[in-house]
C-alpha cells in the first residue's frame, strides 16, 4: 500500500468572533490531518463548533489563528477570490440547511457549480447525478416544490457535479426519516468509493459516524479524546 497522501491539514486552528460586547472564541487549538480518500466524521453536541470547523477546512472562512492546508495550498493565506477558485476546482459542500437557490430548478441548482467552473458537459453530468439520487422526475421542480429529503439529495448531487477531490457534508441526513437518511448516506459512500473523494462529514448520528474510517469528537470548540476509534482500528 502506498503511503497515504495528506489531503487536509489543520494546525492549531482557532476562531474568534466579535460580539457587540467582547468576543467569543468558538474554536480553540484544533489540529487535524486527513488523508486523500479518507472518510472522516466530526461529531459533537449542538453548538460545539462543528459547522464552524467545516467552514474553515473548506476555505469558506478564515481562521483567527492557525493554518489550514488543502492539498498543500495554504488556505489561510489566500484571498476570498483565490479560495473561491480552490472551492470551484476541488471542493464540494453539502450545507446543513441545503441552501438551494430558490429561483433555480433542481437541475439548474445541480449544474450551477459546474457552470461556474466552466465545465462543458454540465447538463449531462447533472442529469446523470439526478438519476443517481433518484430524482430524474423532479429535474424541473423548484426547491419550494421539493420535500426536505429531496432537497437534501439535490444538494448532494450539486456537491458532486464538479467531481471534487474533497466533499464536506454538514449533517447530510439530519431531518430525514431513517430510510431516506440511509439512502443518502449510501449515496455519499458510493460516490466516495467511485470517485475516490475525501469525505468529511458532520453528524449527530452514531451509526453514520461509525461507517467512517475515523471520528473527531468536539466539545465547546475543542477535540476531546480525539480519534480513539481511528487509532483502535489501526491497532
Amino acid at each position: 500500500m502506498n503511503t497515504p497522501e495528506v489531503h487536509i491539514n489543520a494546525v492549531k486552528l482557532a476562531k474568534t468572533v466579535k460580539l457587540t460586547e467582547g468576543s467569543l472564541t468558538i474554536l480553540h487549538d484544533i489540529s487535524l490531518t486527513i488523508n486523500r480518500g479518507e472518510t472522516v466524521a466530526i461529531v459533537g453536541a449542538s453548538g460545539s463548533g462543528k459547522s464552524t470547523l467545516l467552514s474553515l477546512l473548506a476555505g469558506l472562512d478564515l481562521p483567527s489563528h492557525g493554518e489550514v492546508y488543502l492539498a498543500g495550498r495554504p488556505l489561510h493565506t489566500l484571498s476570498e477570490d483565490e479560495r473561491a477558485a480552490v472551492r470551484a476546482a476541488d471542493v464540494g459542500f453539502v450545507f446543513q440547511s441545503f441552501l438551494l437557490l430558490p429561483s433555480l430548478t433542481a437541475l439548474e441548482n445541480i449544474t450551477l457549480p459546474a457552470e461556474l467552473a466552466g465545465i462543458k458537459d454540465a447538463r449531462s453530468r447533472g442529469l446523470a447525478l439526478l438519476e443517481q439520487v433518484g430524482l430524474s422526475a423532479r429535474a424541473d421542480f423548484f426547491p419550494a416544490q421539493l420535500s426536505g429529503g429531496e432537497q437534501q439529495r439535490v444538494a448532494i448531487a450539486r456537491a458532486f457535479i464538479t467531481r471534487p477531490a474533497v466533499l464536506f457534508a454538514d449533517e447530510p441526513s439530519a431531518n430525514l426519516d431513517a430510510a431516506t437518511g440511509q439512502k443518502i448516506e449510501d449515496l455519499l459512500f458510493t460516490l466516495n468509493a467511485e470517485q475516490g473523494t475525501t469525505l468529511v462529514l458532520v453528524t449527530h448520528n452514531n451509526d453514520l459516524a461509525q461507517r467512517c474510517q475515523r471520528q473527531y469528537r468536539m466539545q465547546a470548540g475543542r477535540f476531546i479524546d480525539s480519534d480513539l476509534k481511528g487509532l483502535a482500528n489501526v491497532g
Binding site: E80, A84, V91, L112, L116, T162
Partner: protein
C-alpha cells in the same frame, strides 16, 4: 458561462417584483424627463412662433438707413427667408380730402409669419379676397370714410397716383402699443421709388424680416451683429408677449417639479435595489461557496442591472417621445401653422438622468451585494434593510446633480438641495419623536390595534426612511396640486374674465358724451378716460436732442426718442405702475414728469433733470420727479411720460378708453365705427386668446407632472412595502400557526397602514402649508391665507393612498393558506 447563469436568474427574478420596481422607476424618470423637457420646449417654441406672427417674422432687424443688399444676401446664403418693409407717415390726397396716414411698404414675400388678410371692399366684413399687387393701396377701414373713397378710386401719394385695392382686415404686425396712431395703409415696395418720398433726411423706418430654422437664425444673428451700425438694431420680441415672464416662471416650475418627481422615482429605485441586493445576499453567498469569484458575481448582477436599465431607457425614451408627439399634436390644434421641431435635447437629458439614477442609486447596493463573503451561508440573513453611508452620499450627490442638470443654475440647485435635506432631517426627527409617543399608546388597546401599533413601531424604528419617503411623496403631490391652482389663478387674475378687450383711441372731447351714451344704451362698462396729447421730447436739461441718428456717429449729441410720444397727465399713479425712485406728484405739483424706467435708462435721464417737450409748436418744460416701472404685460394703456396735471390741461387732448365686449356682440363695433368714424378701435382679443391658449397648454403640462409625481410617490410606497414583504410573510406564518384569524390579521394590517398614512399625510400637510405660505408671499406677493382644504386633503390622501397600496400588495399574503405560507417561509 456566467452569462447563462445570469440570464436564468434574471428571468426567474422578473416574477419577484423588485426588478420591475427598479425598471418602472427608471422608466418613469426617463419618460418624465424626456416628455417634460420636450413639452416645455414645445410650448416655448409654440409661443415663439405665435409671437413671430406678431412681428410677421422670426427675427426683425430695424434700421434707419436704406436696405443693404449684403444683409439680404447673407441671410439667403443661410437659407433664411427674407422680406423688406418700410414705414413712414405721409399725406394722402383724394379729391378735396387729405389725411395723414402711416404708410407701410412691403415686399412681395411679406409676411414671413402670420397672415396678411386683404379684402376687396371698404369694410372688414367684405368677402372677396385680394392680394397686394404693385400699383395698389390697401386702406384701414376708417380711411374710406375719412377720405371719401371707394375701391378702384385713385389716391395721390407723393408724386404718384395709386389705385385703392381694398381694405386691410388683418395685418399681423400691426402695432398694438401705439395708441392713437395714424390710420394705416399698405402698399407694394415696387411703387415706393415713384412716390419720391424717400429722400435723404426723410424719416423712414426700414425693417428686414427673416425666418428660418432656429439654428440658422442664431448663426445669422451672431455673424451679423458685429457688423451692424448704430442705426441698425434687432427688434426685441419679449415685450409683445403678454405672458413671457409668467411662462418663464412656469417653465422653471415645471422642470423643478418634474425633477422632484424624478428624485422620488430614484428613491424608489434605490429602495428596490437595496431590497433586491438584500434578498440576494444568501444566494450570492451560496454561489460563492460553490466557487464563484466576486468578479463573476459582479458580472451576473451587473448584467441584471444593465438589462433593466436598457429596457427602461428604451421604453422611457419611446414613451417620452410619444408624449411629446401628443402635446405637439395638441398645440397644432391651437396653432394650425405650428411647425414642430425635433430636438435631441430631451433625449440626451433623459438618458443622462437614467444613467445618474442607475449608477448612483441602484448600482451601489448591487456592488455591495457582490462583496458578500461566502461565510454568510452559515448565517441566517438579517432581515434588515440598511443603506450604507456611501449610498446616502452618492444618493445625495445624484439628487443634487440632477437638480443642477435641470435648473442649469448652481445656486438654485444648492438651495433647493439644502431645502430638501432640511425637510428630510425634520421628518426623521419627527418620526423618532412619534415612535416614542406611540409606546404608551399601545397599552390598553384591542389586540388588533396592539399588533398594528407594535408592527408600526418596530418598522418605523427600523427605518424611519419609509415614513420620510411617504411624507415627501405626499408633500410633493399636495404642494404641486396647490401651486398649480395658485399659478393658474395668478395668470387668470392677470387677465380676468371681463377685462377690457376693446380699446378706443383718438376720442375727442366732444365725442366723449356720444360714447358715454352709446355705452349706456348697450350696457357697456367704460373705464377711465386717459387724456393723450402728442408731443416730442426735444431737450434734456439744456442739451438739444438729435431727432434722428445721423451718419456722423462721432456726434456727442444724445439721440432722442425719434417719434412723437403719447403724453398724458394723471393725478394718481396707475395700478400696474410701480415707483422705483422719487415720489408721485403731490396735490400742488407744478411742472413735473414721471418717466418710465427703460426709456429713462436709454435717454440717461435722472431724477431732477428737466425735460423739454414740443407740443403743437409750444415748448413745455417739466422736472423729472419720479421713475416708474411699468408692467408691459398688463393689457392696460401704458405711458412712457406722465406729466403733472397743471402742464397739459390747456392743450387739446384726445382720450383713450376701453371696455369689455363679449365675442357674440362684436357687431356692435361696426355700429360704433359708424357713430364715431374717427375713433380707432383696437381689439386685444387676439392677445387674450393667445394667453388663454398658453395657460391651457401649461395647465395640461402641470397636470401631467402632478400625475407623474403621484405615480412616483405610489412607486416609492410599493418599493417600501415590498422591502418588508419577506419579513411580513414570516410574521404572518407564525401568527397564523398560533391561531390568528383572517379578520384579525386584516384589521391589524389595514390599521397599520392607515396609521402610517395618517402620520405621513400629517407631516406632508404641515410642510406643504409652510412651503405654500412662503411661496405665496415671496413669489406671488399675495396676502397670508392658510389653505383650509389642505388640512383635510393631506391626511385623507395619506390614509387612502398608503392603505390602498399596502392592502393591494399584501392582501394575497393573507389569503395564502397557513401551511403553504409556513412552507414558503421555511424553505426560502
Amino acid at each position: 458561462m456566467w452569462a447563462s447563469i445570469a440570464w436564468r436568474l434574471f428571468w426567474r427574478e422578473l416574477s419577484r417584483g423588485e426588478l420591475w420596481v427598479i425598471a418602472f422607476a427608471l422608466f418613469l424618470a426617463v419618460g418624465s424627463v424626456v416628455s417634460l423637457s420636450g413639452i416645455t420646449e414645445g410650448v416655448k417654441s409654440a409661443l415663439m412662433q405665435r409671437s413671430a406672427q406678431f412681428i410677421a417674422a422670426d427675427k426683425v432687424l430695424r434700421s434707419s438707413q436704406p436696405f443693404e443688399q449684403r444683409i439680404v444676401d447673407k441671410a439667403e446664403q443661410l437659407q433664411l427667408k427674407t422680406a423688406q418693409q418700410m414705414q413712414f407717415d405721409s399725406m394722402l390726397f383724394a379729391g378735396d380730402n387729405l389725411r395723414l396716414a402711416t404708410i407701410k411698404v412691403v415686399s412681395s414675400s411679406y409676411p414671413l409669419r402670420g397672415e396678411l388678410v386683404l379684402k376687396r371692399g371698404n369694410v372688414i366684413t367684405a368677402t372677396e379676397a385680394a392680394t397686394l399687387t404693385p400699383g395698389q393701396l390697401f386702406l384701414e377701414a376708417r380711411l374710406f370714410d375719412l377720405l371719401g373713397v371707394a375701391v378702384g378710386d385713385e389716391i395721390e401719394l407723393g408724386m404718384s397716383r395709386l389705385q385703392v385695392g381694398g381694405v386691410i382686415v388683418n395685418e399681423p404686425d400691426a402695432p398694438l402699443s401705439v395708441f392713437g396712431g395714424a390710420p394705416r395703409v399698405i402698399m407694394h415696395l415696387d411703387d415706393v421709388a415713384a412716390t419720391e418720398i424717400v429722400q435723404p433726411g426723410s424719416r423712414i423706418g426700414y425693417r428686414y424680416l427673416f425666418a428660418g430654422s432656429t439654428e440658422n437664425l442664431q448663426q445669422f444673428e451672431s455673424e451679423l451683429t458685429p457688423q451692424l451700425s448704430v442705426h441698425q438694431r434687432w427688434q426685441k420680441m419679449d415685450r409683445e408677449s403678454a405672458i413671457g415672464s409668467a411662462l418663464q416662471r412656469a417653465e422653471r416650475f415645471l422642470l423643478l417639479a418634474g425633477l422632484l418627481g424624478i428624485v422620488l422615482a430614484a428613491c424608489a429605485a434605490a429602495v428596490a435595489a437595496s431590497r433586491y441586493s438584500q434578498r440576494h445576499t444568501q444566494a450570492v453567498a451560496v454561489i460563492k461557496a460553490l466557487g464563484a469569484t466576486t468578479a463573476q458575481i459582479r458580472l451576473i448582477y451587473g448584467s441584471h442591472l444593465l438589462l433593466v436599465v436598457l429596457f427602461s431607457l428604451l421604453c422611457g425614451l419611446i414613451a417620452g417621445q410619444v408624449a411629446i408627439g401628443a402635446v405637439q399634436w395638441g398645440i397644432q390644434l391651437y396653432l394650425p401653422d405650428y411647425r414642430a421641431e425635433f430636438s435631441m435635447r430631451p433625449l440626451w437629458l433623459g438618458s443622462l438622468t437614467c444613467m445618474i439614477c442607475a449608477l448612483l442609486f441602484a448600482a451601489r447596493p448591487m456592488w455591495r451585494l457582490a462583496a458578500t463573503p461566502a461565510i454568510e451561508v452559515l448565517k441566517r440573513p438579517a432581515a434588515k434593510f440598511t443603506l450604507d453611508t456611501l449610498q446616502w452620499l452618492t444618493g445625495a450627490a445624484a439628487i443634487w446633480a440632477l437638480m443642477w442638470l435641470f435648473s442649469g443654475e448652481l445656486v438654485l440647485s444648492i438651495g433647493l438641495f439644502l431645502l430638501c435635506a432640511g425637510f428630510a432631517a425634520i421628518l426623521m426627527a419627527s418620526a423618532a419623536v412619534l415612535v416614542r409617543l406611540a409606546k404608551p399608546m399601545a397599552a390598553g388597546q384591542s389586540s388588533a390595534r396592539k399588533l398594528a401599533l407594535a408592527n408600526l413601531k418596530r418598522r418605523l424604528w427600523a427605518n424611519s426612511f419609509q415614513l420620510i419617503t411617504f411624507s415627501l411623496a405626499i408633500f410633493l403631490a399636495l404642494l404641486l396640486y396647490f401651486l398649480r391652482a395658485e399659478l393658474i389663478g395668478q395668470w387668470q387674475r392677470q387677465i380676468p374674465v371681463g377685462a377690457p378687450n376693446q380699446f378706443l383711441v383718438n376720442i375727442t372731447e366732444s365725442q366723449r358724451s356720444v360714447l358715454d351714451s352709446f355705452a349706456a344704451e348697450h350696457q357697456l362698462e367704460l373705464g377711465q378716460y386717459y387724456p393723450v396729447v402728442r408731443g416730442r421730447l426735444t431737450a434734456i436739461n439744456d442739451e438739444q436732442l438729435q431727432q434722428e441718428a445721423t451718419k456722423d456717429d462721432r456726434s456727442q449729441q444724445r439721440v432722442g426718442v425719434g417719434r412723437e410720444l403719447n403724453l398724458t397727465w394723471l393725478s394718481q399713479l396707475p395700478d400696474n405702475n410701480q415707483l422705483l425712485s422719487g415720489s408721485w406728484f403731490s396735490r400742488d405739483a407744478k411742472a413735473q414728469v414721471s418717466v418710465e424706467a427703460e426709456i429713462a435708462e436709454r435717454l440717461e435721464v435722472k431724477l431732477g433733470d428737466s425735460l423739454v417737450f414740443s407740443i403743437g409748436g409750444q415748448m413745455v418744460t417739466a422736472k423729472v420727479s419720479s421713475i416708474r416701472k411699468v408692467d408691459w404685460n398688463s393689457l392696460q394703456p401704458n405711458f412712457y411720460m406722465i406729466l403733472s396735471p397743471d402742464l397739459l390741461a390747456d392743450f387739446p387732448a384726445t382720450y383713450i378708453n376701453a371696455f369689455y365686449l363679449s365675442a357674440e356682440r362684436t357687431a356692435l363695433l361696426n355700429q360704433l365705427a359708424r357713430l364715431l368714424p374717427t375713433v380707432t378701435v383696437i381689439s386685444v382679443d387676439n392677445i387674450i386668446a393667445q394667453v388663454n391658449d398658453i395657460i391651457a397648454q401649461v395647465t395640461i403640462a402641470l397636470s401631467f407632472i402632478l400625475l407623474i409625481i403621484c405615480i412616483a410617490a405610489a412607486l416609492v410606497l410599493v418599493a417600501q412595502v415590498q422591502a418588508t414583504l419577506e419579513q411580513r410573510e414570516q410574521e404572518l406564518a407564525i401568527l397564523r400557526t398560533l391561531g390568528a384569524r383572517y379578520a384579525f390579521l386584516r384589521n391589524a394590517l389595514l390599521l397599520e397602514f392607515a396609521l402610517l398614512g395618517a402620520m405621513a399625510g400629517g407631516f406632508a400637510t404641515l410642510l406643504a402649508e409652510v412651503m405654500l405660505l412662503t411661496v405665496q408671499q415671496r413669489v406671488f406677493e399675495l396676502p397670508f391665507s392658510p389653505h383650509y382644504n389642505l388640512w383635510w386633503m393631506g391626511p385623507v390622501l395619506g390614509i387612502v393612498m398608503v392603505t390602498l397600496l399596502g392592502w393591494w400588495q399584501l392582501k394575497r399574503l393573507l389569503r395564502i393558506p397557513g401551511a403553504q405560507l409556513m412552507r414558503k417561509v421555511l424553505q426560502g
